[in-house]
Structure formats: structure tokens, C-alpha cells
Symmetry: C2
Subunit: 324 residues, 2 copies
């Protein structure tokens, strides 16, 4: 872990500047309510629907802030990342809006559908072998060749400032909240919530939700230092990555608690949301609702913001489909 | 067909009164846009998301108007219908809000899931044999026994006035439209569009969309009189019913054109919407988008309101799932 003095901690003003910067490139996503879920939980839930966001997930906020904050000179060399998920889509989308290249290093074994999605948003894929050493070597080569700016999926102050705009909108769209809950993987979204709410509405509790089978953030939170798992296995595939120094900074200071849910609880919550709210959400973003449903007493009578982080799923491989 | 003079044609003022009456009981559903679909079609599409409506479909507008328009004396005897689809759910929901019984006559062979959904909204089911004669006999018995008010799923002036509130909201939520398109089955929603738009915005074209395999409205429209099919077969199961005198009144006077789509085009449009817009829509309400995608030249450059009528699907039997 880097020394704290080396880290560039984004500020509330950075978040405000991010919101101005990205406003033309993102949706102000709607907040939906469901009397079914309100009755079930005995609380008032406000779902911030980032599954309707550009490129299908909140990550476009941070990626757009990074891309549109670059000087023209830096921007001309493009941006680069090695995510194969929503961050890669989002960075490709944002780079496309600015008309600059976006380089994405992906394992050659990644599903064709994921590669096609990245290319669909204009990303330029360089394949590596499916190992950390190959990924790092290939990524270094791409960066050296292009001079592209690396934008980390979450451990980047520009990205966290961008993600913070989501809870700013949520507070503007609701009439006061007691709590906000969001999934936690690397901690980008939660850090954005912490950044924004600790200044804008410090009375609002910030809860993080995590799969039991990838509960490294939960264990880090209890231990007081980062614990990283090697290769956690969960259907919530956006939440497998570990906390890093910058996100740990926010999580350790501002998160009230971390709750966990089992794989079956996650799938049940996901399916129930599709059935009752008619929205397509990823397994990752069903985790908060799953933890709410199993801890109803904790939420009873409260006004709770629930961040629905994304809706990019493979409709041909839904978790409740029986294997062929 | 009844003589026209016998029909009670709902007026624009009836629609305005309906909106006031049902406002506490329905959602003002959001209008979503999609740059993906805008680019694909070369038009501006505004999706009025009635899949987010109470009970999961627009039908709650008409059902609520009928239920809350009853005198206390009539209401005390309850309401009755013989739909097994969204109208039954909606009427049960509205009756429950008013605290009166809702009787639903359904074939004993109807899927358990449908019966459970009706009961979930408080509907009281009386089973009949799966034949028209049995349904009519059982329904007559229920009405005679209870004195409940029959609320037809679409051929009812109270229902049409209620459905008309949807395009009123759509016009309020958009900044002018060239066209509105909605699915057509029995014609309740389209009649509501006609009722509202012919007064509020007579310059707006009204298009209806229908499955090729249940194109009785299309053929009626071309022939100039109602043609009813016996038992059309389509995945868009909300659109199998024929036009009736009251809906034909509106369709024959105010609809600009009726477009049709094949079963495969409907499924493709449905899946594409789930993928790109992250919303769960029924096959029936994918029909308008399917017809837009196959007639792009007709919509190019236009501002088009698309009524997404409902989101009640069986997630375990999606049309793109391969049979086990």
C-alpha cells in the first residue's frame, strides 16, 4: 500500500467540477420506487437506476470525467485500461465522444460477446494471455507504444470524483434519505458516495453490500486494513476485485457498515426485481437489495437510497435458466 | 355489432375527469429515450414506460377509472371480469384500493402463475371450463349472485377514458411529437390515444402495431368493418382479442395506419430492448418497435412516442430460451 501522503484524494469540489464536465455525456438517470418492495421491507426505497445510464452502468461517470478532464495534448494520445467489464465499455464510450482512441487489453480467452461490446463502443482491443504477468507486460507495451493515459477502473481520483456525481443526483431527486446502499467490489462507487455524502449530507448512513463469496471488503472493514482475495468466485462478477489504497481511504473513514448476501439470495433478489420493477439489472447490483431483504429490521421505517449500478447481462445465460 | 346510437362514446372531458380520479392510484410513468435506438432508426423515440405502471401495465388506468367512478352503492357489490391477463390484475388492484371485491372468471386450465398473480392482487377467482359457453354461463352466474359491475377489458367507455390518460401524460412529458405508436389488440389503448390526441394534438399521427399472425385489426382497417379471427396464434398474447364497436369507432376515425410485424421480428425487438434499454417488456409491447425497425424510412426524422404497454412476462419462459 502506498503511503497516504502520495495519494491524490479527490475533493468535494472535484466532484462538483466532474458533474459539470460530464453532464453533456451522461444521463441524469431516474429514481424509481416500488410499493411492492416498500411493503415487503417496511421501508421507503429509492432506486437510482444507473442500469439506464449510457453504456449501461454508472462507470461512465468516472470514465467520462477522466477522459474530458485531459488536456488536448494528453487526450490526443488516447486512454488505456485493462478491464474487460463495464469500465472498458464506459471508457470506450467516453473516448469515442471525445474522438480519441481507447486501448483495452483483454485476455484472448475473454468471451467474444465482451470483445464485441467493447468494439461496439469503439474500443481498440489488444489481446494478452490470461495471466497477470502477460496482462501487465502487454499493457506496458501498449502504453509505451501509444503514450495513452491509464485510467484505472476505480483506484483513480478522477474516477471516484465522477462516481460521486451519482449520489449528488440521488440527493437532488429525493426529499431526504436516512441511508444509501451500494454494491462494493473495488470500491469506486462507494468511495464516490462517501466523497459526496460526507460533505453534502453527513447524516446519511453509507452501507456497502457484498457477495458472501467475495467478502474481502467486509473482512478488510472488520480487520481495519485491506485484505485481498486471490480469485473469489461469485455470480456478481463486477465485485470480484479488491479494494485499493484510494478506495480504502474512503471506505475506512465513511462507510457505516458492510452487509453480505449468499449467491442464492443475490439471484433471488435479481429475479424479483426483474419481475416486480420490470428493470434489467446485473447480478452485482442485486446485492444491495438482497442484503436489505435479509436484514429488514435494520431498514424498517427508513428512507433508503439504493444504487442500481448496471444492467449489462447476457440474456442467453440468466442465472435462473436451467443448464441445457 | 350494436347500433352506433346505442354506444356511449367517451369524451375528452371524460378523459380529463378520469385523470383526476385515478391520479392517486397510478404512477405517472417515466418517458425514457435511447440514443442507440434513435441512431438505429434515425428518429427521436420517446418510450412511455407503462411496464413500470401499477400492476405492471397500462390497463390499471382504465380499470381504476371504472372502479373509482362507481357510486358507493354499486361499488359495494364489487366488480367482475373474465380476462385472465393484465386487465384482471389491474381490476383486482383497483378494487383492492377501493376495498371492494373483484370477481374474475378464469378457465380452470389457466396457468397457476396467472391465477396466483390475480389472487396476489386480491382477485376472487371462479373457475370455468375452457370454452366460451362455459365462461359465459359461469360469468352470468357470478354476476347474478353478486350483482357485481362488469368491466370489459376494453370495450367500455370508462376503460377507454382511463387509457386516454396515458397519451395525455406523454404529451406533457415531451416537447411535441409527430406520431404516437401503440400496440393494437382489442383497441383499448389505441382508442384512448385517439380520444385524447384528436382533441389535444390533432396534428399527431396515430399508428397502431399488430402481429402479422393476429392481424385482424389491420384487415378490419383495410376493409372498413370489423373482422374478428377465431383463435389467432401469436407470442404477443395480449393482442389476440378482436376490435369491438366502441374501439372500432375510434380506430376507424382517428388511426392513421396499422403496421404489422412477424413473430421473429417481435422477439428480436423485445430482446434488443431488454439488452439496450434495460427494461423488461412483454412481447405485446415489443410490436411497435418491431414495426418501427422494419419501416425506418417512415419514421426517419420524426419525433415518435412509443407506448410500452406492459412488463408482465414469465421469466422462466423467455422466447429466446431454447426448449429444455
Amino acid at each position: 500500500m502506498k503511503d497516504m501522503t502520495e495519494m491524490q484524494i479527490p475533493t468535494y469540489e472535484d466532484m462538483l467540477a466532474a458533474h459539470e464536465r460530464i453532464r453533456p455525456h451522461i444521463h441524469r438517470t431516474p429514481v424509481l420506487t416500488s410499493s411492492y418492495f416498500n411493503d415487503l421491507v417496511g421501508a421507503e426505497l429509492f432506486f437510482k437506476c444507473e442500469n439506464f445510464q449510457k453504456a449501461g452502468a454508472f462507470k461512465v461517470r468516472g470514465a467520462s470525467n477522466a477522459v474530458f478532464g485531459l488536456s488536448d495534448e494528453m487526450a490526443a494520445r488516447g486512454v488505456a485500461t485493462h478491464s474487460s467489464g463495464n469500465h472498458a465499455l464506459s471508457l470506450s464510450y467516453a473516448a469515442g465522444r471525445r474522438g480519441i482512441p481507447c486501448h483495452v487489453v483483454m485476455p484472448r480467452t475473454a468471451p467474444e460477446a465482451k470483445k464485441a461490446a467493447v468494439r461496439g463502443y469503439g474500443g481498440i482491443i489488444t489481446e494478452c494471455e490470461p495471466s497477470t504477468s502477460s496482462r501487465e507486460a502487454v499493457f506496458a507495451e501498449v502504453q509505451a507504444r501509444t503514450g495513452a493515459e491509464f485510467v484505472h477502473p476505480y483506484n483513480d481520483p478522477r474516477v471516484i470524483a465522477g462516481q460521486g456525481t451519482c449520489s449528488k443526483e440521488l440527493m437532488e431527486q429525493t426529499d431526504g434519505l436516512d441511508m444509501v446502499i451500494a454494491p462494493i467490489g473495488g470500491g469506486g462507487m462507494i468511495s464516490g458516495c462517501c466523497l459526496t455524502l460526507s460533505t453534502l449530507a453527513p447524516e446519511v448512513q453509507i452501507l456497502a453490500a457484498e457477495p458472501e463469496q467475495a467478502d474481502d471488503a467486509y473482512r478488510s472493514f472488520k480487520a481495519g486494513h485491506i485484505i485481498a482475495d486471490d480469485a473469489p468466485h461469485t455470480i456478481a462478477d463486477g465485485l470480484k476485485v479488491p479494494l485499493k489504497d484510494l478506495t480504502w481511504h474512503f471506505v475506512s473513514r465513511h462507510v457505516t457498515d458492510i452487509l453480505t448476501a449468499s449467491e442464492q439470495e443475490i439471484v433471488d433478489a435479481m429475479k424479483l426485481t426483474w419481475q416486480r420493477m420490470k428493470i434489467v439489472m446485473e447480478p452485482s447490483c442485486a446485492v444491495p437489495l438482497a442484503t436489505i431483504l435479509k436484514n429488514r429490521e435494520r431498514f424498517a421505517g427508513k428512507r433508503v437510497g439504493v444504487i442500481v449500478t448496471g444492467g449489462n447481462v447476457d440474456l442467453d445465460k440468466l442465472p435462473w435458466m436451467t443448464a441445457a
